[in-house]
């Protein structure tokens, strides 16, 4: 037990470990969290119940505001890429601030882990203590996400926790930055803070600061983020104490538990009233093509393809079960994720797609995740305890995207078309490392990826550059602020036409940033994978749409840009034609990568007047493109959001541009004829599935036109999930001993 003196009545309270055990038993026995069959406080005074919730929400958001302001890094200060939560003494999140909603689950399980590991006895929980973790072996997502937890005491009793997470600029990886896709193993995952007590009496120990200074490349930013996390937590702590002063400890204790059970009931109720029981399956795949690129260790000279299946079953009681059966193996890169983090990721999607008046841990009790195959990318440690999770979020982004479409299909069947989401965008990142315009070493992330296209609904296009899978506050930050932090100048930041897939309703479009390197003796551009596809496209052809295209950045080195500027000739401000991009048309360069397969780090530093064209993905589309309202196509043509070729060849819309006004007009009769012809062509070129199956089966047996990464992926998936392998063999009628 804690060495803190306690009141007599408090001393009789069970330990936190005992409370955890009882909570688990009560949930198992009653089906309700904490055994709450009734929400007594809510029933007695619903007005106060709502009012106190609003106060707690404001307290958490105040923690976010204070914490982000105290932080010095652009990720937190400009992008708000952080989160603050209030938790029960046993860890369950009660209330979360705005910010990165992938983390309330992780913070909940972090505090639970402290208790399960016996920290209540040693080192004990005391007022003013500060705990921290960034180790994925013990509940972290990936090491750049530092998690801080502060116990909240009232009259000598631990009554709650304030916790926070923020994404630091440099995690001390083997390579600079915070998107550690290149990390070969956990030994390259940077500075570890493994479930530590890092301070007491509201002050951080000096040796913690020494470690950050000696083991990260941007210690001022990393320490600034730490101060921000702490400041936000202390803000929450102090205000929660005042709230208890006002409403009483008994009320606080009761109502915080009720909020969590209320949230669980909401999640169950939403599925029951707006979903359909049954089984939903969605395959998805994500590439990581690294062969021939700059890597850390020789065995990383390999192409990988992730198999990311998602099966959802919903029973008569609206209990949801998730399975990743068939997942491929761990990878020798920083793109492995733990089951704990997967749970928090699922909670992230619930925050978008199921929606909450009270978003907290409760929804996680509304579903179960079947233990992912041991040794897979989503459960690596049973086979490889030293697997890297440098950017563990990367595979989660492309895997979780399936859940948007899955829930969208359920809502569609019930007629709730306004709630459908066709699938998320990807999150390709850009980091710079080198000497900046102030003559100082810098390493850090831009915020371009934090604002994607929004998934299409079943009755409307998605919004452009207004959505992010990991935060409701999609915000790519001000270009001018990014230019203060990094030695770059924006030459363009434009909506990218047709980047939201092709469908009856298209996904929101992404944007393309064009940067010119300036005022540096040399800087590396790391086109990072925080969840991208570059060889393949997403399996998101929802109801007949075409998925949005792969992520393909480009850059030019040793350019003639200065001469072009001096001569006042056109520069590069957007990507342009995918077959003859502006970078190729307008720039002469010694080195030119016009169609880069992401992710990668530039082999050599970039210098003055070098150019980078960095696209940010749009989201996924919905429905047959031939059913798109021609008026929407015309509107997109006018806005420059679709191209004439796509209008004609994909949407079947015939339109002419007025030479004087520049406006487009649709030829309705020609469009109708064109679309009829295209539908007839489909029937002519399409073959009965059974006929294709026979031919395809033979190609599978021969391994025809299958990249090595594809073959290796199937081998891993079938080894790790024998029942999944049996299904594949049965479908293609392959021999029992067949291996790819």
């Amino acid at each position: 037990m804690s060495s803190v003196p306690r009141r007599k009545d408090v001393q009789e309270r069970p330990s936190l470990q005992e409370q955890l055990r009882r909570n688990d038993e009560l949930f198992k026995d009653t089906g309700s969290l904490f055994g709450l069959k009734k929400l007594g406080r809510k029933q007695a005074d619903p007005g106060m119940y709502e009012a106190v919730w609003a106060i707690l929400l404001n307290i958490c958001n105040t923690g976010w505001t204070v914490g982000c302001k105290v932080s010095s890094s652009p990720v937190a200060a400009e992008g708000g890429d952080a989160l603050w939560c209030l938790h029960l003494p046993t860890g369950e999140a009660v209330c979360a601030s705005k910010g990165i909603v992938s983390h309330p689950g992780l913070l909940s399980m972090l505090i639970r882990s402290y208790i399960e590991y016996g920290y209540e006895e040693l080192p004990g929980f005391h007022p003013g203590d500060i705990f921290e973790n960034n180790d994925s072996h013990y509940g972290g997502l990936h090491s750049p996400d530092f998690q801080t937890a502060v116990p909240i005491f009232y009259d000598g009793e631990l009554v709650a926790w304030a916790a926070s997470v923020s994404h630091v600029m440099d995690a001390g990886f083997v390579t600079p930055g915070s998107i550690g896709f290149l990390n070969p193993d956990c030994f390259s995952d940077g500075v570890p803070v493994t479930m530590e007590k890092i301070g007491e009496n509201d002050r951080v120990y000096p040796w913690y600061e020494m470690r950050i200074r000696s083991r990260t490349r941007t210690p001022e930013w990393v320490l600034g983020d730490g101060r921000g996390r702490l400041a936000g937590c202390l803000t929450i702590r102090d205000r929660v104490v005042k709230l208890i002063d006002k409403y009483g400890l008994d009320y606080f204790r009761d109502v915080t538990r009720e909020y969590i059970e209320d949230s669980r009931r909401y999640a169950v109720g939403r599925i029951r009233t707006q979903g359909v029981p049954g089984r939903i399956r969605k395959s998805n795949f994500k590439d990581l093509a690294m062969q021939g690129k700059r890597v850390i260790l020789p065995h990383q000279n390999v192409d990988c393809l992730f198999n990311q299946p998602l099966e959802v079953t919903i029973d008569a009681n609206a209990k949801v079960r998730f399975s990743v059966r068939g997942a491929s193996g761990w990878v020798p890169f920083g793109e492995n994720i733990t089951p704990t983090a997967c749970i928090s990721g699922l909670l992230n999607v619930y925050s978008h797609m199921v929606g909450f008046d009270m978003f907290n841990w409760g929804a996680a009790a509304a579903w179960e995740l079947e233990t992912p195959p041991p040794g897979s990318w989503c459960n690596p440690y049973p086979v490889n305890y030293f697997a890297s999770s440098g950017v563990a979020w990367a595979p989660a982004v492309t895997w979780l995207s399936s859940l948007y479409e899955i829930l969208g299909r359920l809502y569609f069947s019930r007629g709730y078309v306004e709630e459908v989401a066709a699938g998320s965008a990807t999150t390709m990142t850009a980091e710079f490392s080198g000497v900046n315009q102030y003559g100082l070493f810098t390493a850090g992330l831009t915020l371009e990826q934090a604002s994607n296209g929004q998934p299409a609904r079943a009755m409307a296009d998605g919004d452009n550059s207004a959505w992010s899978i990991y935060t409701p506050q999609a915000d790519f930050g001000n270009a001018e602020i990014s230019e203060l932090f990094y030695p770059i100048m924006f030459l363009g930041r434009n909506v990218e036409p047709d980047s939201g897939g092709y469908g009856k309703f298209r996904g929101g479009l992404g944007h393309t940033a064009v940067w010119m390197v300036m005022n540096t003796p040399g800087i590396e551009y790391q086109c990072g994978c925080a969840g991208l596809r570059s060889k393949v496209v997403a399996n998101h052809g929802m109801f007949g749409a075409y998925p949005t295209w792969p992520d393909r950045p480009s850059y030019a080195t040793g350019t003639n840009v200065k001469e072009l500027i001096d001569a006042r000739k056109p520069l590069v401000h957007e990507r342009g034609d995918p077959e003859e991009p502006d970078l190729v048309k307008r720039i002469k360069a010694k080195g030119l990568e016009a169609n880069g397969i992401a992710p990668f780090v530039t082999p050599e530093p970039l210098h003055e007047y070098d150019i980078i064209v960095h696209p940010i993905s749009g989201a996924q589309a919905f429905g047959d493109p031939l059913e798109r309202d021609p008026e929407l196509v015309r509107s997109d043509l006018d806005a420059g959001w679709t191209r004439e070729r796509v209008a004609v060849e994909v949407y079947g819309v015939v339109a002419q541009r007025d030479a004087t006004s520049g406006e487009w007009a649709v030829d309705q009769a020609a469009t109708e004829r064109k679309r009829n012809d295209m539908r007839a062509a489909r029937k002519k070129r399409g073959v009965p599935f059974r006929q294709w199956w026979k031919a395809e089966r033979k190609k599978i047996l021969k391994g025809e036109n299958m990249a090595s990464a594809v073959v290796e992926m199937w081998r891993q998936s079938m080894n790790l999930s024998p029942d999944y392998a049996a299904d594949i063999r049965a479908f293609w009628k392959l021999p029992d001993d067949f291996r790819f």
């Binding site: 399956r281 029973d315 052809g541 998925p547 489909r682 036109n705 594949i728």
Partner: protein, 181 residues
């Protein structure tokens, strides 16, 4: 509890409601009778009489046909028992070469055909594109949605369907009947 006229729901599903009204509907508690109005709207738009039990996609519906439950396109084309993947009865066209991909994806927008196939499933009756898959060779077609219809109608809507059927995936039963040659 919110409730809307069928005409308003019809405008909503057709994308004809003003966005401000759509936002009100999104923010409000959901209307519990939506599925009845949704199915009524869809039913009056199809040229056939079988009762729609559940919409699967904008074009495909599970319908009650005599004592069977089959998947049916809005054009009338049928795809068999809803418990077997309807894709087995569809037309398929696969883009797996640079030339065929180029009709949709060009230049830097084109995926690598040795890593992924673009499979287009269309209706043999009307040519509508029903689903598109982007998967590597070897991946069986996704059977996206196998609803537990009897549980849904009996326990959730409290209107049991006649002739309860086993909730089971019948796809492999169909494949087993196929000859490899």
């Amino acid at each position: 509890m919110a409730g809307y006229d069928e005409s308003e729901i019809e405008k909503l599903v057709d994308g004809k409601l003003p966005w401000t009204r759509v936002q009100e509907i999104m923010k409000d508690a959901k209307d519990p009778d939506r599925i009845e109005k949704w199915i009524a709207i869809l039913q009056k738009r199809v040229p056939w009489k079988e009762r729609i039990l559940l919409p699967l996609t904008p074009c495909l519906f599970i319908v009650q046909k005599d004592r069977q439950r089959v998947v049916k396109c809005r054009c009338g084309q049928e795809f068999g028992d809803y418990r077997a993947n309807w894709k087995l009865e569809a037309l398929i066209f696969v883009r797996e070469t640079e030339a065929s991909l180029r009709e949709v994806y060009r230049g830097s927008e084109q995926p690598d055909p040795s890593w992924v196939q673009i499979r287009e499933y269309s209706c043999p009756g009307c040519g509508v594109q029903l689903e598109v898959e982007a998967v590597p060779r070897g991946c069986p077609p996704d059977f996206e949605f196998l609803p537990d219809l009897d549980t849904f109608y009996r326990d959730w809507l409290e209107r049991p369907l006649p002739d309860e059927q086993e909730f089971a995936d019948k796809t492999l039963d169909v494949v087993r009947s196929w000859s490899e040659e």
